[in-house]
């Protein structure tokens, strides 16, 4: 594999990127004084000692929200190449294919809508 200027540029770009990101952090660690001891390790909760841990069970809504975001995120991933090549296609086939792909995602929205994931009532009965 012949080593030419392009590879060097890439490596340089990599190093500068890392330095640009990590540099201030390292500089700050070296140059600034450091607070130690006391409650600095304790999680900040308005000046009070926190109680119990936050590793408790949450409602399923939050998980489903993340799931829907993930689905559509991946969906956009697939749509990128389609967008690039779409002007080369002719006829309706490409359109129909993308349409089918999107309807399945739309179905997931309808399903979760029916399950009540998107309804956040202002007040719940206890």
């Amino acid at each position: 594999m012949v080593f030419n200027w392009l590879h060097l540029a890439i490596i340089l770009f990599l190093i500068v990127g890392i330095l640009f990101a990590a540099g201030p952090l390292i500089l700050a660690a070296l140059v600034s004084p450091r607070a130690r001891g006391g409650d600095i390790g304790m999680p900040y909760e308005c000046g009070m000692k926190p109680f119990g841990s936050s590793w408790t069970q949450f409602g399923v809504n939050y998980y489903v929200y993340a799931l829907i975001f993930l689905a559509f995120d991946v969906d956009v991933l697939y749509l990128f190449p389609v967008a690039v090549q779409y002007h080369l296609t002719e006829g309706w086939t490409a359109f129909v294919k993308v349409f089918i792909f999107l309807t399945f995602l739309g179905l997931s929205i309808v399903y979760f809508w029916a399950k009540g994931v998107f309804t956040w009532p202002h007040k719940i009965r206890l």
Partner: protein, 183 residues
């Protein structure tokens, strides 16, 4: 580097909670001076309004007295992102552990301004047989600047800010309203 100067405050322990501040690894005079000026020009105060002085602290943040002319208008609610703790109001005995914990949870370099008579010495609530307040916040945490008044006028708070900047960088950066020249 006021509260952090080991010469100024005994190094082994700054607060009752056993917190202390270690000096930086690279201690080059020139670098520290430059950094001090940068820190002085962008002090981020923590919204720690306890009582009446908090309203004057809010008034300083607003348009008329405008603390943002001096770089300190970003009032951070959490101690993790602030480096100036303005104790604005009466510290009661019930609130004392929270004050110490908030001070300890601030990253170094950190500075404390005791705003108002209550934070300096208990102020109007210091009388024989008082059972509820801590007379002066310097019993709990090391204080850099005391701003007297009940409540001090917003100009007083700005003067306190200049004092902290003077303590950090060694000189006053803004014209003195009375003499006009920079001392």
């Amino acid at each position: 580097m006021a509260a952090q100067d080991s010469a100024v405050v005994k190094p082994e322990c700054l607060t009752a909670g056993g917190a202390r501040i270690d000096p930086p690894i690279i201690k080059v005079e020139a670098v520290q001076n430059i950094l001090d000026v940068c820190r002085a020009m962008s002090l981020w105060p923590m919204t720690f309004g306890l009582a009446c002085c908090a309203i004057e602290m809010m008034a300083v943040g607003m348009a008329r007295f405008d603390i943002s002319r001096f770089g300190a208008e970003v009032f951070r609610p959490s101690p993790r992102q602030s480096d100036l703790m303005i104790v604005a109001g009466t510290v009661t005995k019930k609130m004392a552990p929270a004050v110490v914990r908030l001070y300890e949870q601030m990253p170094a370099p950190k500075y404390v301004m005791a705003l108002g008579n209550c934070a300096i010495s208990g102020g109007p609530f210091r009388f024989k047989g008082q059972y509820g307040i801590v007379e002066g916040v310097d019993n709990l945490i090391p204080v850099d600047v005391y701003v007297p008044g009940c409540p001090p006028r917003p100009e007083g708070l700005l003067e306190g800010l200049f004092e902290i900047q003077k303590k950090m960088t060694g000189r006053r950066w803004w014209p003195n309203p009375v003499q006009g020249a920079v001392k």
